[in-house]
């Protein structure tokens, strides 16, 4: 069977499954719609959180980025998993104890202010939009390559599916489809990784294979040594050595960590479990599920890079395997025979290099480069779609709750009934999907880069406001609002300036303190914290009942009554 036929089968099966789950888990109340009735088992919530949070960027782009960055790629790995530690220790249990629906709910109540709530709504919507565009774009790439429809049609199909189960099921539908999506995506990620590891090193565990010796067929010697030598011979940087300035790596890692902890669609997942204890447990499950993919990704990156260098370097263009020309038609690989010898010269030297490879295709092309069976290649497509759609659904839910619950019910139209609120929530998802789809078709940049900015913005706006709200009882509304605005505007300003206004100046010499736009969220977080602490001193302490609320969320609460897990 051809790859395309297999892809149709896998995609149709997985989509059928998601739709089936959505129908089974329709939301009846706003409580169901926003937090799945608060009765999700921690294990299921752990899987859903993992799928929610592992986006198209994790699945499609991350290994590719690492494969081109070498050791520096570790900032994605440590940043996106280390942030989980912050989330589990500093936020999840307390927000669960607080026991409302959304992040703006917490900010609005904790800082007893409609303006604080509005600022939080604004930040939640902007962060989620930036992030959701990346997902739609990721889905578009998969559709265009594997189903050979154009990106526009691809994005529209993706939108229709997400629309169906997000609108019907709300958080409840999304949670249980995400559990299924986690299973699909992890299976799709691991199968090719195990195959390739076995083929190249004889070890079925990619995490170990990656530090093992190559099989005789691949020339023996340690894989990473071979990769270092190959890279050096071709004029690329040594794979296992860092290239970026240490402070830049430090700041990018921190921005991704604070950002992970501040992402509203991840935080919101901890509102869905029955108790504080379950919130902690489900954070642990989630990180275990995430770690499976995250420890495999660097191995995939090294395998893919070695394979790519081995396959294309100095190969006769006419004799290259068929995947090369299929990816060429999507323009994600391009070859320009500058010296006219009919061979591919792939080099780190821009003068003689003849090959351009888009980083986003490494995971998708990897099984083909390694000549794995067709069904494995198709499986990867289904997995990538699961990753993109699960995250998109979680984000769309945040956008819709921000509009229907935070903006309408809690701020502008407090009189609306639950039924009307539910209707507005569904309408908001619909509008959000249309806008996200538009940006998916007219994308602003690389998938992972766009996502990295969302993390910077989340870090600079939410993270300090929530942490200070829990750990610093005297933090008042003036401090929190000033901090969030300062952090958000500073970070957004820096990113917009260097990425869109004067992109030609975006080099280490011009960056402040050598920090790239990807890492600036860390500075934004610090600015937010300093501004919040300073301004809070100038105004009176928060009212008594707010201080009591802070004390209340710090305590573990009663032993949770038995909850019937659906």
């Amino acid at each position: 069977m051809t790859v395309q036929l297999w892809t149709y089968i896998f995609v149709a099966l997985s989509f059928g499954l998601y739709i089936g789950i959505a129908v089974w888990s329709r939301a009846a109340s706003t409580n169901d719609f926003y937090v799945a009735g608060g009765g999700v088992h921690p294990l299921a919530n752990g899987m859903a959180t993992a799928a929610d949070w592992m986006s198209a960027a994790s699945f499609i782009s991350m290994a590719g980025l690492i494969s081109f960055l070498g050791r520096d790629g570790a900032f994605y790995l440590m940043g996106w998993t280390g942030g989980y530690v912050l989330l589990a220790l500093l936020l999840a249990p307390y927000l669960r104890k607080f026991g409302k629906y959304t992040v703006p709910d917490f900010i609005g109540d904790r800082y007893y202010s409609r303006s604080a709530r509005l600022v939080a709504i604004f930040c939640a919507i902007s962060v989620s939009f930036v992030y959701v565009c990346g997902q739609m774009q990721g889905a578009g790439i998969v559709f265009s390559r594997f189903l050979e429809v154009d990106i526009t049609t691809g994005v529209i199909i993706g939108m229709a599916i997400v629309f169906f189960y997000a609108v019907l099921g709300g958080m409840k539908g999304i949670t249980y489809t995400q559990v299924a999506q986690y299973c699909v995506l992890i299976f799709a990620y691991m199968v090719p990784a195990i195959f390739i590891s076995l083929m190249m090193t004889g070890n079925p565990i990619p995490q170990i294979g990656f530090g093992s010796e190559l099989t005789a067929e691949y020339g023996g010697g340690y894989l990473l040594d071979r990769l270092d030598n190959l890279s050096q011979d071709l004029g690329f940087a040594v794979y296992t050595e860092g290239q970026r300035a240490t402070q830049d790596v430090f700041f990018i890692t921190a921005a991704l960590m604070f950002g992970t902890a501040g992402l509203p669609h991840v935080i919101i997942r901890f509102f869905t479990v029955p108790s504080v204890r379950d919130a902690r447990k489900s954070a642990a499950y989630a990180l275990i599920f995430i770690a499976i993919l995250y420890t495999t990704a660097p191995a995939v990156a090294a395998f893919a890079r070695t394979n790519l260098l081995n396959t294309v370097d100095n190969a006769v263009y006419e004799e290259l395997p068929s995947w090369f020309s299929t990816w060429e038609t999507t323009q994600l690989i391009s070859f320009d025979d500058r010296n006219g010898d009919g061979r591919v010269q792939y080099s780190g030297d821009a003068e003689t290099n003849e090959l351009q490879v888009n980083r986003d295709i490494m995971v998708l092309a990897n099984p083909e480069i390694a000549q794995l069976p067709n069904w494995v290649i198709a499986l990867v497509a289904a997995g990538a779609l699961a990753a993109a759609l699960s995250t998109a659904a979680g984000l769309l839910l945040v956008i819709s709750t921000a509009v229907s619950h935070d903006l309408l019910k809690r701020s502008l139209l407090p009189g609306i009934s639950e039924k009307q609120e539910l209707l507005f929530a569904r309408l908001a998802i619909f509008v959000a999907i249309l806008i996200a789809g538009y940006f998916g078709i007219n994308p602003p940049g690389f998938v992972a880069e766009v996502v990295a900015f969302a993390f910077g913005l989340a870090a600079a706006s939410f993270f300090p406001a929530i942490v200070l709200g829990i750990f610093y009882r005297r933090m008042n509304r003036e401090g929190a609002i000033a901090g969030m605005l300062a952090g958000f505007l500073f970070t957004a300003g820096y990113i917009v300036a260097f990425k869109f206004v004067v992109p030609e100046l975006s080099t280490p010499e011009h960056w402040w303190f050598g920090i790239s736009p990807e890492g600036i969220g860390t500075l934004g977080t610090l600015i937010n914290t300093v501004v919040a602490l300073t301004v809070s001193r100038l105004y009176p302490a928060p009212p008594r009942d707010i201080q009591n609320m802070v004390e209340e969320i710090r305590l573990p609460g009663a032993v949770p009554a038995a909850v019937n897990h659906p």
Partner: protein, 94 residues
């Protein structure tokens, strides 16, 4: 804080967090970034230690940290509950 049990609970909680976050900082920022080049001098199998910590080891440590946190907090919660049931000065807390 409402009573001494609650205060003690919160202090113990903050102590646990401080301990775990120090490990978190040390493994990722110190070993994985600042000292990575130095640690690269040590090799095991095909891995250089600094590279391995940055791309693998830190993630395993993060998983262990969260599991330790879950266990310690469950114990702390249980102790707090039994203490505050014995205590008389405390209001109902739920």
């Amino acid at each position: 804080m409402r009573d001494k049990h609650a205060r003690a609970y919160w202090r113990a909680n903050v102590r646990i967090l401080a301990g775990l976050l120090s490990v978190w900082f040390f493994i990722s920022y110190v070993c994985g970034i600042l000292l990575a080049d130095t640690l690269d001098a040590i090799r095991f199998g095909g891995f250089k230690l600094g590279f391995w910590i940055a791309q693998q080891g830190s993630i395993y440590v993060f998983v262990v940290l969260i599991i330790v946190y879950v266990v310690l907090m469950d114990r702390l919660d249980a102790r707090y509950r039994s203490d505050s049931e014995k205590g008389v000065s405390r209001e109902d807390q739920s």
